[in-house]
Amino acid sequence: MQTSARTPKLINLLIALSAILLIGALWMVFAYAPLEQTMGIVQKIFYFHVSSAWVGFFAFFVTFVGSLLYLLRGQDRWDRLAVASAEIGFVFISITLVSGMLWAKPVWGAYWVWEMRLTISLIQWLIYFSYTLLRRSLAHTEDAARVSAVYGIVAFVTVPLSWFAIRWWRTIHPQVFSSSSSGLPASMLATLLVCLGAFSVLYFTFLLQRLRLEKLVRERLAVLSAEADREWAA
């Protein structure tokens, strides 16, 4: 079925929901959550940093699932899901890296510290970037989908291993959650949860919109192919 040029209602609804949640999250971060005594205002970055990292990791997982299902079932939609999620994940991981560096400078005295989560984010960022480069080096074909799917799987399985390796190697990152308690006051925890929710909804909004765009691109390619066919037949 031809994709409509009009934005679907679900996406409009998600855009509205994202806007409301983001405004609510901003209010909670700056007006509701208390100022952290040691770090001061800079601690507020933490809410965006953790949320974007969560979305980045989740997007990476979605790319992995899309890649796996594409190899198993060969359906175009799983490839669209993988590529759309990888691009959005790349944006969110970039936010994680930048916010992490902005937070690290006043707290640790340097923009970059080789601690576990920052390093993992950098590895993920490199992998997402490589994935996009690989994608660009191939045309919109089944080959591109298959090759990217294999890399999507290989790259994903590397992340938990890197996590363990770097964790054993060295770590000085503050634990946000421990097994017994979050270590956060209730107001901070509530703010963090709202931020996580807002970023997650934002991710799904971007994802649906990007999936739609990818579908439109492929439909346009199909139209061009059909035109080429007509020329071929003539």
Binding site: I123, T141, V147, V150, F164, A165, L221, A233
Partner: protein, 479 residues
Amino acid sequence: MEPTDTLLHIQGLSKRYQFRRVFANLDMELARGEWVLICGPNGAGKSTLLRLIAGLEKAQVGSLTSVAARIGYLSHASGLYEDLSPRENLEFFAKIFRLENGPQRAAELLEQFGLTERRDDPVRSLSRGMIRRLSIALAVLHQPDLLLLDEPFSGLDYDAQLALLDLLKGIQAQGCTIVLTTHEFSLEEALDFRLLYLHKGKLIHDQRCRAFAEARDIYQNAMRAGQKETKKTKPPTEKTPQARLNTPASHPPYRLRDYLAQVWAVAQKDLRTEMRTRELLNFMLLFGLSAILIFSFAFNLMSNAVRNFIPGMLWTALIFTGFLGLSKAVNRDFANQSMDVLRIAPLEPSAIYLGKLLGIFIVQLSVAVVLLLAALILFNTALLQPAMATALSSGILGLAASGTLLATLVERTRSREMLLPVLLMPVLIPLLIACVQVTQDAAAGLALVESLAWYRLIFIYNIIMVSVGMLTYGSTIEN
């Protein structure tokens, strides 16, 4: 026998490459023992049709049903490994096709195709005609019942074309169906064959000819008429001359022993090529030693304070040399489209992966040993410790496992040389961390148990990469 015994049935076949349609709704049938000649202008879809029949490409729409148990395929490229001899090539592919009498069959074919005298010379030293003959010998090695030849006469002089035609007649007389594409009609030979003229993926003419001259007239008239005269002529149902059909034996059941034999055959072929050319070893060693030299000046590694950098330096050099070697090692299978022959063979893609992994592992381990010795001499360090062998071999295995897969993955991409390091480096990070740690521990004289956590990580990494490689290699080598 009458050519009514259908070998291949094509119905409603459509194939396209993004903006280029090759076939639209193609119908065709091939009978056992037929001699079929496909011609048409460039871009008509002749080569693609052969690749589709061989199973090397997939059509988007339509069905292609073949009852051929064994298919032989010759593309524009030779399918041969140029650094191996004709005998080694045929014996290698005989193992891949699981022929029980491989060396004997290879010797027979070399004799039949007039290549016995040059059987031990590298393929790259043979003339074009000899290489073409050897390629056809490779295509018929496993006694196929359907032989697909893409432009077999191309680039051969008249006598060589005649000799080749005689060879093909002999093969067809044994019951093999021969389908070939050609632009060459200069042969003044009588031959009863079916001529298919393709134009823009459509079957325009389908008729029986008794000589190449007759086919040449049809071809030239059709070329002049272009697509306007699209009248399809029904082929007369005549007897195919002297076609004795051998019922092809199906492949014996696939056992673990066969699988392992194929893995070893691939590894052995790669190692033999390497021993002959020493291309990878020389380049990798020279590059690795240069890297050590550069590191020694960049970090002043003679100072005691930075001695701990030596394992890191060693692994960095090994990874960079790996990039050089991996690309070349994998490219050897794609250079002359030998991978297509491997894909046609009754061979699990994971066996190709494991064979290549094994070959690359042995080469990289050899480089690692030399670089270790160089580091030991140049920096006067106690690197030769009992645990070092385990540290190096486990790490190199991981490097070879992920490297083999990704090098194959980027083989058909633009700028593959640049893409491989970019894709591989982030994937190698957990392995690199663990390898540097175990090498440091080994250099400090610690026992293996002291580094058990790191070895566990390397082990898990290797298991995951080998498993992913084995499961996805089939998708990786598809066109």
